[in-house]
Structure formats: C-alpha cells, structure tokens
C-alpha cells in the first residue's frame, strides 16, 4: 500500500524580501495517525525546507508556544491531529490579530504588555517575611479561582476575539481572566490596584461577549465567563452601599502552629 501523504500549506513571510505574506505548499508523509500539525511542521523544517520559522516547545499542550491558525481556527499545533484534516490540505497561518514577524511567528509584545499591566501576582498590603507563617487557603477558596489559573498564555483567545482584532487597545480575554484569578485569590489584596486597568475604557467594557475566546481555549479557562463576572462584580462594587471594601485577609498561621 502506498504511504499516505498530506499537504500542509504554510504562510511564508520574509520581512526583507516579501511585500506581504504568501502561501507555500508542502506534501509530506503522513506515516502515523498520532501525528499532529506541529509534527508536520517539524518534518518540513528538518527534511524539506529549513527556512520555515515557527515557535514551539513542549509539544504537549502546556507551554502555550505553538499557537497558530489551522484552517482558520486558532489552535495549538501540538494539539491538532493531522488525521482530523486528512485527506484535505491543512492551511497553517500565523495567529490572527497579531503582527507577523516572519512566516508563522507573531509579535506578542502587545499581549505581554497587557499581561503585565494587570499585575498577575499576589499583591499584599504588607509582605510577610519568608518563614514567618503560611497563607492558609481552603480547597473551597482555591476552587474560587482554580479555573482561571489554568491559562497557559497561548493567546489563542486573542486570535479568536473580533473585538481585539478590530481594536488592538482592548485588554483582551487572557489578561482579564488572569486579573480575575488574582482578584479572587483569598491571599491577594490587590483588587484596587488592578481595577483601574480592567475597568478602564479599553478593559472589560469593550467586550461584547462573542464568546469565541472560551470556545478556542485549550485549557478550559473560559475567559468570557471571567470577563462577564468581572463586569458584574465591578458594577456591584459601585452600586451596592458596601462596595469598594477589600476582602478579608486570610487567617495567618501563628509561628508556634507552624
């Protein structure tokens, strides 16, 4: 039986020579049903065309590096099986809504800037010295934010979001979900510091709940839910008479109890 083949059409862009991106077709052996699109790209780079540029790392859906458009859908290429597309050609393009640096590599500076702006780390009014005590947190308290902590910063949600596509100033799904992850963390006291960014004119209010971000998220973070809940919580803070109060600080473990 003749070995199976599959065609990968990859976007190419050389900033020094190309006016705009173009497509290049590669026919490669489809030898194993467990092959993913990333395997196909690696085969092309290793055996056919070493100039093809793209990002990847773990190959197992946890690092978030290999996000690209596969047949028009933002996907982790390590998580897109060739068998689901064969025998039709697989069109691989750089992640939507980001500037293209080269071939399938996008400029992610905007996302990094937005991520940093929401201060995605535990903020305490007063830092506890290391070794003094632990932050006690119940399972229920962890469950409050667990889902939003699953984000691997792969930016598929930004590629899926038409609001971000039309307005690059929009804070975007992942940044807002991560802001919420920390705002809901019982150890955190930084809500007031994050509020000016998430509730700004380019923050949550620009979201019109298309919901595609949550559809494409490979880790089930549901950033759309995070944004809508943030809208409601933020509004309630200003509407309710006891709004704007910081959450209770978690119980501190006494040094003797440690």
């Amino acid at each position: 039986m003749a070995p199976k083949k599959i065609t990968i059409q990859a976007a190419r862009f050389d900033p020094e020579h190309d006016e705009r991106p173009r497509m290049q077709s590669y026919e490669i052996p489809f030898s194993d049903d467990s092959m993913v699109v990333l395997d196909g790209l690696n085969y092309i780079k290793a055996h056919v065309d070493g100039s093809l540029s793209y990002r990847w790392s773990c190959r197992m859906g946890i690092c978030g590096s290999c996000g690209m458009m596969v047949n028009g859908t933002p996907k982790l290429t390590c998580n897109a099986f060739l068998r689901d597309y064969w025998p039709r050609p697989v069109v691989v393009e750089p992640l939507n809504n980001f500037p293209v640096i080269r071939d399938l590599v996008i400029d992610m500076d905007d996302f990094m800037h937005k991520l940093q702006s929401v201060k995605p780390w535990i903020i305490r009014k007063e830092e506890m010295p290391l070794g003094a005590a632990e932050h006690i947190q119940t399972t229920s308290q962890i469950d409050d934010f667990r889902q939003f902590s699953q984000c691997i910063n792969c930016m598929l949600c930004y590629a899926a979001c038409p609001v971000y596509g039309l307005n690059n100033e929009f804070l975007g799904p992942a940044a807002t979900a991560l802001a919420r992850r920390y705002n809901l963390d019982s150890r955190d006291q930084g809500l007031k510091q994050r509020l000016p960014v998430i509730a700004s004119s380019e923050g949550i209010w620009e979201c019109s709940f298309v919901g595609e971000c949550s559809v494409v998220c490979p880790k089930g973070v549901d950033p759309a839910k995070a944004i809508q809940q943030t809208k409601l919580d933020t509004t309630m803070r200003f509407v309710l008479p006891y709004g704007n109060r910081d959450p209770e600080p978690p119980r501190q473990l006494e040094a003797e109890e440690a």
Binding site: V210, E212, Q229
Partner: protein
C-alpha cells in the same frame, strides 16, 4: 488575507518593538463575521435589538391610539403588520433565549459556601420569563371586553 478590509488602527507596516525588521499587520476583513457560524449568530444576536426597538415604537403608537375618539379607534388587523410582528417575535425569542442562558455565566452566587450550579440559575431565569409572560398574558386577555 484577501477581500475588502476594515482599516486597521495602525495603518501600514510598523516596526516591531526593539527590532529593526518590519512586521506585517493583517487587516481584519470586512466580512469577518460571515466566515464562521459562531460569529454569524453572534451578529444576529446583536441585531435583535433593532426589530425589538421598532416593535416597541409601534407599541407606543398603540398606546397613543387610546386617545382618539371612539369612532376613530381601529385595532390592527393588517397581514403586513402580523408578518412584521412574526419577524420581530422571532428576533425577540432569540434574544430571550441567548440572554437568559448567558445569565448563568455571569451570575455566580454561593449558598452555604458552595457555588450554585449555572444550570439552576439559567432555569430560574427561564422560570421568571414564563411566570411574567403568564401574568402579562392574563392581564391582556382578561381585560379585553
């Protein structure tokens, strides 16, 4: 990468920060919402506002019609109006189903330290819709004489 494009807020090529090569900014195509079913139904959902607004404007006219002299009072019977209402009803129902379903996403409450399942919240919204409709329907029909 073909077709008419919506102008990007950053026209033309710009420099990537900290690099000396140019980046290529792909514009969003004007028909972006027609290319995927999920985007299309999202636009339909947003569009429901227009027929609903038009029908409510008719309701204002209907209210005002009570002010004419009894001899000039003529309730609506035209088939064109019925057709218009049927279309508006379809859009209104789509709005109700989508909006009340999404309420389960946005409303998060904890009872006795456990989150209330979103299905229950959605169910309560639809129950509210049913009760309100029954009460209003009753009033509209009961007072007809």
């Amino acid at each position: 990468m073909t077709g008419e494009a919506i102008p990007s807020p950053h026209k033309g090529e710009g420099k990537g920060e900290g690099s000396s090569t140019r980046v290529y900014r792909r514009p969003v195509p004007a028909g972006w919402w027609a290319r995927r079913s999920h985007y299309f139904w999202y636009i339909v959902r947003e569009f429901t506002a227009l027929p609903m607004a038009l029908w409510l404007l008719w309701l204002l006219i209907d209210i005002r019609s009570a002010a004419v002299r009894p001899v000039n009072f003529h309730p609506q019977t035209s088939i064109a109006f019925v057709a218009f209402s049927v279309v508006c009803l379809a859009f209104a129902l789509y709005h109700s189903f989508t909006f009340l379903s999404l309420a389960g996403v946005i409303i998060h409450v904890k009872v006795l330290d456990r989150p209330v399942p979103s299905r229950l919240i959605v169910l309560s919204q639809f129950a509210l819709w049913a009760v309100a409709s029954i009460v209003i329907g009753f009033v509209l029909i009961w007072f007809a004489r």
